[in-house]
Assembly symmetry: C2
Homo-oligomer: 286 residues x 2
């Protein structure tokens, strides 16, 4: 007895004729007819009342269909479990302190391993490190190299913070500014800037921050208000806003280097990705 025969049986039950079922199953009528007879021989029982021009399930046939459905349902459960397993196998979870390095990494992976799916989650440094240690994620992207012996890390990309200053503001004429010079000014902040949030709050203790969640709204407000704002040189963060100039910030904390951190015993697709990123030059690393 084979699973295929059980599938055929329930199809015949569903569609009523061998012809229709054969078409549905992409085999010929005679093939299906023979296959059913084999099943009957195997079970030692005829399953159909046969007319010359029609078939109908008899009692034994109905019993067989009942069992077949149960067996096939179990097979389907097995398949589903394995499909989920191989999906999980292909999915890499990343805890990152910033959005920019996840874009960088995703871009490379999509290009090289189109089947692999990257699912980044933004969180602070402590959470990211814990997620990695607890194996909740395959990778962490941190702004420093952790000193844990069972983990390996490689530099992924650098990112520099800039001030977006309206032309009317005197600071806009400068070639660079320091956090100290920006302190006490009110700022408009885009929420999705990751670790920069803590940096600016720490170094601009006297400034007020208006936080905007939506990037489009944030960009719109930039054009209409004269609040100061920040931008970085990460690819997707580089924005051109008319009436504003982008001034580098001199403080060392206005520059970060992101590291891709992983357990030393990673395997499978995570290992492939780690090797891929290790093999290439870090982005924007002056």
């Amino acid at each position: 007895m084979e699973l295929e025969q059980l599938r055929q049986l329930v199809e015949i039950d569903r569609l009523g004729t061998i012809s229709a079922a054969a078409e549905e199953l992409h085999i010929t009528q005679p093939a299906l007819s023979r296959s059913v007879r084999r099943l009957e021989t195997d079970l030692g029982q005829s399953l159909f009342d046969r007319g010359h021009n029609s078939v109908a399930l008899n009692e034994a046939g109905k019993l067989a269909v009942h069992h077949a459905k149960r067996i096939l349902a179990d097979v389907r459960l097995m398949r589903d479990d394995f499909d989920a397993l191989s999906q999980r196998e292909r999915t890499i979870k990343i805890a990152s302190v910033g959005p920019a390095p996840t874009w960088c990494l995703t871009e490379r992976v999509v290009e090289e391993f189109p089947r692999i799916i990257i699912t980044p989650q933004l969180m602070d440094e402590v959470q990211a490190e814990n997620a990695l240690i607890n194996r909740d994620v395959d990778f962490a992207i941190l702004d420093r190299e952790p000193a844990l012996p069972t983990f390996q890390s490689i530099p992924l990309m650098g990112e520099n913070l800039f001030a977006l200053i309206p032309q009317e503001n005197p600071l806009s004429k400068r070639s660079s500014v320091s956090f100290a010079e920006l302190d006490e000014q009110p700022f408009l902040l885009f929420k999705g800037i990751g670790g920069w949030m803590n940096v600016v709050r720490t170094h601009l203790p006297h400034s007020q921050f208006i936080v905007q969640e939506d990037r489009e709204v944030f960009l719109g407000l930039l054009e209409k208000s004269d609040l100061l704002a920040f931008s970085s040189d990460a690819p997707r963060n580089e924005v051109e806003v008319k009436g504003r100039v982008r001034i580098p910030i001199t403080d060392s904390s206005a520059r970060v280097v992101y590291f891709l951190v992983a357990s030393k015993d990673i395997q499978g697709s995570a290992s492939d990705v780690f090797q891929l990123m290790a093999a290439q030059e870090p982005t924007n690393l002056s």
Copy 2:
């Protein structure tokens, strides 16, 4: 994915090596090795951690074994149901008013259809008829032809009742006796004589009956006591007891003809048996 592969998987799990499982399954090592690899390819997941000289289930493998066991258990349920069904198919239940005709029928069927199993049950005429009508049994053996239109019947055998009379008894010199002449005498009765029990109780209202269940004990008592007894000319009922003579009983009710009765719509093995018995001459039908 095939059921055979699942069986192979659980065997490998049970025995620990591919070699041992292959031997158990009566195939060669390479065949089993390839079959397992096909399963792995099919599931898109390797199921074993492979050494050059050993295999061990990995997580996916354990999951697969779990599912496989469930599926195979369901398959076994299906097989069991069908085995029971074909056993039922081969088993013919008979309600009979006497033991002799069931022996006659069983003997013929065993000879012709060795696979068919006959299960006779002794009961009185009314019960037997009801059992047949309710389809609790496939056949009834009655001592008359029922007048039911949806049933068919054929004569099966005749049976004549004899008196077993000790030589000391004057009746033993007679060439025949009547019930009237036997009345008021005490009798030893064997319980397994079916419908004869009612016959003699009816026609010998003044006799006392000592009923014995065990045939061997009954025969033993016949030699030691001078009680009268009965015997019939049915093959297995013909007994020779020393010191006794077998005298025919003249009454018409001392003779019965058994009829095999069945529904007109019987099919399968019951139909085969009915036709077999219809084809041959009834036994002992003077």
